[in-house]
Amino acid sequence: MGIIILGSIVLIFLGGILVYNRLINLRNRVENAWHQIDVQLLKRADLIPNLVETVKGYAKHEKEVFEKVTQARASVTQAGTIKQKADATNMLTSALKSLFAVVENYPELKANQNFLLLQEELSGIESKIAYARQFYNDTVMNYNRTQQLFPSNIVASLFGFTLKDYFEIEEPGKREAPRVDFK
């Protein structure tokens, strides 16, 4: 009898260790995935002064747009939490949209080699942000689900694991259309 009780205690203890390690692994994966997004967001922020300067060379009078973009960029680099970062990113995306709308009025600028390079670089980074977000959200889903399912929820609440936020941003338009097919 005693052996059975002792045996089950040892088994439960070992199971707990396994679950705990799995949660730690998943949390590290989430942090790593978040880092991937952050890297791309910083890369985009680094491109923006260069982009603004290039556009300024042709469109001096569009001060409003430049200010909006510069402000949004600053709030992305300053944002602390994931929610703040997502909001700032949305702001920057829409500011960039209005910047590119302005560019439409300057055909010479649209033919500028430097501008074209920046544009390709920017759209590349935007799709990387989308992919990093996809990976991050998948990782978060896995982590959160593990915390909610029995019996790992017991270990999770015992050691104070908390649910992570998803990174919700507006997608760049071109990826929107094909995705609809899968819902």
């Binding site: 994966r29 790593n32 995935a33 991937q36 791309q40 390079l117 390709e120 670089e121 759209s123 590349g124 980074i125 799709s127 990387k128 989308a130 992919y131 990093a132 996809q134 990976f135 990782t139 094909p178 995705r179 097919d181 899968f182």
Partner: protein
Amino acid sequence: MYEQIASNKRKSFLLLFLFIILVGVLGWIFGEITGAGNIFVFFAMAIALFLSLTTFFFGDKMVLAISRAKPVDRKENPYLANAVEGLAIAAGIPAPKTYIIEDSAPNAFATGKDPKNSSVAVTTGLLSKLNRLELEGVIAHEISHIKNYDIRYATLVVVLVGTVTLLSDWMRRSFFYRSKRTKRASGSGGALILLVAIILAILAPLIAQLLRFAISRQTEYLADANGALLTRYPEGLASALEKISKDKEPLESANKATAHLYIVNPLLEHRSKLNDLFSTHPPAEERVRKLRSM
């Protein structure tokens, strides 16, 4: 997924082991026939070990060199570099090195030891004939091969199986040459060795072919599915596969040893219906059908 990775690592190890044993046996037979003795076995196995290690660490470099792939300059081809980096992020692996092959036939492959040491190569034809969504589909397929460690086994197969085939060809030739020249009766022991030699020399390339089969069909379907999961758009890869398989141009730098690496078999004579059974690749129509039914 993790099972697949473990199975690939196991298969790679087994392949290296088999390779060393097989070369050792070939060496022993060769020693017996020529009368060079048992020293030849150690000699052959040392070479095999050396070759295995070289292949394990530098196999990707060999494959890229055979295929005449050149590293991509990020400035010259930001479009391709961005696609590769983006999908590596989606898969959560470090970005592989990107290579380009100057050839108008559209095709692509991945090679390497593990996700940290991996490369993706695409032809210039692929870049010019596919649109962005199709290109991303192909790259996603290759990235999935990298993530699953398919590249390790496939790259080992290129070099090791190639070596075994070459060795047994060479042995067969030198053996027949010798038996014509000196018709010396060497007793029953000698006859037995000769028999083993003949069987092995014929069997070795067959074994090699079987090892090559072990990679392909299921692995390709799996990489298609995982690739579609990365882009969340199976139609991109489906229409890319259609375009690539319908293309009539042969890929100059591909050969029998490297054919199984490519996303679609680059050797045109293997694309006919009759060859389905023996092909290293599942039929493109079947892959397209599976992707479209996702």
